[in-house]
Symmetry: D2
């Protein structure tokens, strides 16, 4: 059975596994105080061209969103997100569990519009009754978005300008950041993101690691007692080395970028074969997630030979499904897919 | 200065004040165990024609919404509300503070549509990834709504039918319930509400009391250890008599209905004088809150002689404002208003 | 039946009732923006000899503790209290409901010892693993304590010195503050408390009001967006006048002190009659709460003629009970009590 | 430098690493739906002799305590623990962060006493004011305790009997469970624990895994929508296989027991050499953690050659330190230690 349903269907990149193996019996301090965490942080700061950044490792995406958002918001504040934002839809209310409201703006193929953000903030501060309302305390965007789309650099800069004008941080969820940075249709680099955003994370789980997300605070803005907060959220790994070793490997010799580029290569081929065969795309995605509209009967038949993900109903007889490539997708996978679609 | 800005601008109805005075020096047990609380509960159950109801007294509206919603939802659940619902907009995130998401449906002049509610629930349960989403655990409506509008009995029944089909309670926020029940354009009685809803509250603060809301659980569905929950929310009054005496008075000889009817009478006159003078209404409200669209310069001038509430910008040169009547509005107030508008 | 079970068994002091009545039909702005709130705040600041204080009104004691503690603590912090502290025992977990731990120190007849507080803080900061622990973020004391006892001025100053050394605020719960200040055995004035503590509240509910507590921030340390926080806790009264009028009356012509002194007078007489008849006191209380040890059979018999409160089992055949006086206790009450004990 | 400071200083047992490697490129479903999670659950149920158990995998100890305790308690309930319990001291308030109080009983070398538990519950239910208190909703014990000590089977049964009498679950934190079960001085088996406790977890992080704890619900008592709760806590791994593969390996051919027994063997040798050299033990521990009292100067000198953990000050010139063995401790480590102490 072919497997294109997601980008977390295999273990870790072989180089990561090798490294975990070769360091396995070293005696190291716990809770992230080991040399691999330290080395990984340095490599990430260098890759971000942001020497004063503060880097922390967490285990998964929802956990990371929950820890960052709750630790950076005041009790009276909520986080602004597009309606389709992961924090608004698919995290089981993890943000509300930390007592903060997700304030929503329209989603434009997964993206937030800077003018709508500004209008929201203007309206809020013009409202005489705003002391009875949730204060907008942060803007959350994902890049790539949940629909595989990307912000242009100018769009990120526009969002950032609004955020700074209103004194709120811009947080970029980079669960699939590698696939965004290495897209063939982007003008945004990792250094741009570090320069433009106040905090973001570099996704490991979906880009070659067994688990792990690297949080980057770019403006000497790490929340007070962040380690204690992480512990309180049950998010502090005793064997922090598991994260350190993985990110140290990912950021050695550009592995993170190389394997992300591979996934993009595979996605481009996947797009090409779907396009050739006349399939309809739900939207144009320049990254590793591709959304195809299938006729329901066709979908059922196809699902006997390849795994993909149900996304949403398109109409009574069509469905939007997702095909994802990743660092682990092979030319053989693509060739096999070409034969059956 | 005339005062039409809200329905909580005066103290309590004189009969309530008299009663507080006449009972003032009686030695009574605390925390709601006094005879007036007991008597008031009985009167409310009778007025609701719901002998098995369980009645509790709380202090204010946001507190009541927070206590009811959080005590009736499972940790994984959110409350469904219209986007304009008070819990979604004007309670400073009090619901999220209890860790529950407010799930929104479109607002139709403040109201939720039963078909849209059904569609939401159907879609949720059809979604294969719903275990990663916030479960819909309750429907919240306000009656009258934040825009003064009312549900028809058939609309309430349709909402209730959907809720029961999906096994979630229907909660009616009755902060201004009296003004809804006594509207000239309603077919909904207090007994209807008790029959149709799973839980609701009868607003006191905005209908003649100094403070106080009477929560009615209609289906032997009072949350476990409700008194402890109320205490934990800081919502348990030591001198529960303050609430008991007020509601006992409001539900004696139909005072609650009588003073509500008076406010409606005043609202009808207010509408008539605005209409006569050619003012534009933002929407048609059959209750005590009236929304008028004023040209901005006119608004400024008017504000020198009468207090009303800014509601929202209509366009660059117009504003929506609210005029509210209440149990305390007099014929003289209306006559004076007629002269200045 | 005589009623000595608590200090909240009657309504409000008659002067408060008169004032509520005389202001009842004035049209006033909501949410504490009325002239009575403003006037009451000025009077309280004057009575505290603390012109830069910031005063806010809340409804009840548990609510006040919850709002103050949660708004002044960082997410990683807990509040230090004596094991017998109200926040630790009798608030149904209201503090933990705001996500903060109550860190406990031994209770000395209800009081916290400054040396033990210092030792706790020293030990905490000496512990290498303290980043995995709850940080001590505030000291909470009650005055009078839950056992009616009082801190000497030197004891308060010692606690304050420790708190300042460690950079944490000292919070004094004054639910019964009047009865402390007017005790015949105290050297602590209201101005002392305002000078020594970082935040405290002046209890109304138990000292003559229907409800209400006046929070005093003494060091320009009001938490950011405090009104929004109060709203979020469901603690913001629409008719804020209810609190303003009451406190304005209590602090006019020294009424608060006068009625507190009366309660103390009554308590002294009550103590005298118990002492004369040879009753055993559980501890020596210089305020309005008196704790008597009764033989169980005697207790049962006595309970047929007078209401008092069960406090705790003393041993198999004895029970500690509480007799409380208040502003409303009369000489007749005391005389009647003398006859039956 | 020798490393005895903890039992999480090395990676995973080599067999686990091999297995992660050999399964690395298999395409597997996410979120714990893979075959290895399924197989691991079956093996654990068999090892527990509890075929109806429900097993879930989480990442770390604090996270597991937080998820289990908060999902099994009612809003009004707290968890009872010994004062030294991990949840009370070293989890940065993670339990309170979920809004539940930790109710404490005295610690007897880390253990809770069944009679004291009964007395606590009896007193609580005898207290007339308990509706204003936090209800005891669960008993939490750790086995081995934070001091390496163990409950005898009769002690666990006595605790369980009290819990059942009062209708609360008994939760056993088994972060180091293997080292308890394989102690030479225990009469408690894994099957006993599954029979006696309502929920417990089998620690992986400290017993040979990179990370991971296996939660076992033994009485068809898995909390409603547990997966959603886990997701909401940010505790659901996308690559659930990481936990499944590790536990499937640990419970294949008794590896978990074998490596735990090895750690115990090493601990016995470590005890012997300390004892021979006349060191003073802080308490008698039958498991892998040994607490030694060192003279401070000696401690400093020793710390130049071997890492151990500061535990607590014993007196002005002595300190309690911890030496821990684990699955990874070697005979060579012990021999080297013998030379330097």
């Amino acid at each position: 059975m072919l497997s294109f349903e997601c980008d977390y269907n295999r273990g870790a990149h072989p180089k990561i596994m090798e490294r975990l193996l070769s360091t396995n019996l070293e005696a190291l301090p716990g809770y992230g105080a080991d040399v691999y965490c330290t080395a990984a942080k340095e490599k990430i700061k260098a890759a971000c061209k942001c020497p004063h950044a503060d880097v922390h490792f967490l285990v998964g995406g929802t956990q990371t969103n929950s820890v960052i958002i709750s630790s950076m918001l005041h009790d009276t504040e909520g986080v602004i997100a597009a309606t389709t934002g992961h924090v608004n839809v698919h995290e089981a209310g993890a943000i509300e569990y930390t007592r903060h409201k997700v304030l929503t703006l329209p989603s434009h193929a997964g993206k937030m519009d800077a003018r709508e953000l500004r209008a929201y903030l203007e309206t809020f501060y013009a409202d005489a009754s705003n002391s009875h309302m949730v204060y907008p305390g942060m803007a959350y965007i994902s890049h790539p978005t949940e629909y595989g789309t990307l912000y242009a650099k100018a769009e990120l800069e526009a969002l950032s300008a609004v955020c700074r004008e209103y004194g709120i941080p811009l947080f970029l969820d980079g669960a699939r950041l590698g696939y965004g940075i290495m897209s063939k249709q982007t003008d945004v680099t990792l250094a741009d993101i570090a320069r433009i955003c106040d905090v973001f994370y570099i996704g490991g789980t979906k880009v070659g690691a067994l688990c792990g997300e690297a949080v980057v605070f770019t403006r000497n803005n790490t929340p007070k007692r962040f380690t204690t907060i992480v512990k309180q959220h049950g998010a502090l790994l005793a064997k922090g080395r598991l994260l350190g070793v993985q990110f140290d490997t990912l950021f050695e010799d550009g592995l993170y970028f190389e394997i992300s580029a591979h996934a993009i290569e595979m996605a481009e081929k996947l797009k090409a074969i779907f396009r050739e065969k006349g399939y309809r795309f739900y939207l144009e995605s320049p990254t590793n997630q591709q959304f195809i509209i299938l006729e329901n009967k066709h979908m059922e038949k196809l699902s006997e030979q390849v795994r993909f993900e149900f996304w949403e109903k398109a109409d009574e007889i069509h469905t939007v499904v997702r095909f994802a490539t990743s660092w682990s997708t092979t030319e053989e996978d693509i060739a096999a897919l070409a034969k059956i679609i």
